[in-house]
Amino acid sequence: MDWGAIFGNAAVELISPTTAAYALAALGLAIHFGYTGLLNFGQAGFMLLGAYGYAIPALKLGWPFWACVLTALAASVIFALILGIPTLRLRADYLAIVTIAAAEVLRLIFTTNEFRAVTGSANGLSEFQVDLLALNPFPPGRYGFGPFVFDNRVWFFLVIAWIVVAIAAVFTWLIMRSPWGRVVKGIREDEDAVRALGKNVYSYKIQSLILGGLLGTLAGILFVLPRAVVPSYFQPTLTFVIYAVLLLGGAATILGPIVGSIVFWVLLSFFSGFVSRAVTAGWFPFMTQVQAGQLRFILVGVAIMLIVVFMPQGLLGNKKELAFVK
């Protein structure tokens, strides 16, 4: 058993761009769910808009990277308005239903062959990073230290990803400690009480939906930068995994989503490496490699269940709150 490789691969997930992308998407959900109490089950849809909103103008129109980012963000705001305007006046569950459905509609639109010329349908889009890579300050080659050895492309995306996560975390921290954050947390507790105090609850809910959605969209861009854009990434399970990351870290915290994402990916990589090597070594004679690939998700699921059962406030949540959870 090559424990070194297992731990090494797990360590890589500590800083991988994917970990950063999940952290950012979960931070968006923290704004929605943890702070405002909005049930957005369509975070995958916001991420999809980031991925395609960036890749399509880059590939089909040859736009510079910043224009692609702005396109993605604009699409995200429009999506949030379409979802929020009709539902945020209604009971909380309506948003949940509409978001999960809308995210699926988006994914199917980008999967269908009708728009193949633009979306690449199920095969997706690749090589859309050219404009951004022209700015890569890292010299060509593979380098690093310990288990963290990557090529210059990955280093570049990794640094961008964590800078964006850091900026988003500071931004979220700033708004949540302000009077704006106080209103939003009040809405989470009881929106009628906040309304009775003269706050335009509807407007705050829309602002929150847009903000968390924008973080999801940026996360979508970060997620696809090191890979190709394929619609099947953006299944509803992606949203559920991001909720798991959020609950793992702590729903109404700034660093929770980041810690949650790191723990999630490190655990996943560790289990996956361990199970796969254990099967090769004949430790689990009843299991094939394909089954082993599934098992890692089961193990991660069990690990998350244990954490949620024994630490429902998440790794960084405030334990004091638990005494009052109804």
């Binding site: 931004f171 708004i175 704006w180 106080r182 209103v183 947390k185 009040g186 507790e189």
Partner: protein
Amino acid sequence: MSSSVTPTSKPVKTTGLHVGDAAPGVRKVDPILIADGVRRTFGGLTAVDVEHVEIPRGAITALIGPNGAGKTTFFNLLTGFDKPDTGTWSFDGRSLAHVPAYRVARMGLIRTFQLTKSLALLSVMENMKLGAKNQVGENLFRSLIPSIWRKQDGEIEAKAMELLTRFKLDAKKDDYAASMSGGQRKLLEMARALMSDPTLVMLDEPMAGVNPALKQSLLDHILDLKASGMTVLFVEHDMHMVRHIADWVIVMAEGKVVAEGDPHKVMENPAVIDAYLGAHHDTDLGADSEHVEALKELIDDEQ
């Protein structure tokens, strides 16, 4: 609901509020709130059907009536939390029909809820600060730069501290609102409502579920509101309390205003006795027998 609590000193009653005979819908000398033809039905049930009612300014008005009379629904309609089928109503001369709840609150008409709405996982201090009006830091873009809102936030905190001290909640300021007793939450909700310096405060059963010691202080606080120039409209079941602090009483039954008057005289009105006894005959709610008890006590009291 035994009424052992009485105010320490006899409050000064405001009189001469109405013009002409004290009949339902009687005109007031200086009304702050006027409602006309306000009707709300739920399916076949007419919950509220108020032809005309005026709330006198600068006084404490009690809205009483048996359970299901439509008092809470009327509150919801007046404050924009529910929409009537028909009707107009105005506050301080400005029409409130179709005005959303948050704008009603900004105009200075603040209400509390029958089922207390404290913001459980916010601290008592945060609950209070949320009540303040015109906060620059509540704008998303300005919220990003603390130097823009910090000074105002400090002032709001000082004001909140003053109110909390007055309501004897200052020791709990950093606790979650969820950790307080039901009575303390009622106090908090009332204190929070005062953060915006309202002109009209509408309290839906402020004493329900509050222990006698706290009732006493709640009562004094309501009298304080009047002393500091606010108008109070409150729903209450405890007749002794109503009689002691209210300057005017409006009685609702089955959605309608059935009687109005001075708290000492209105109880003798046959329509009021009818309203309570009628409701008692129709339904078998335990709470209604309380009203009858209270009413009997009061009539005895008066004689």
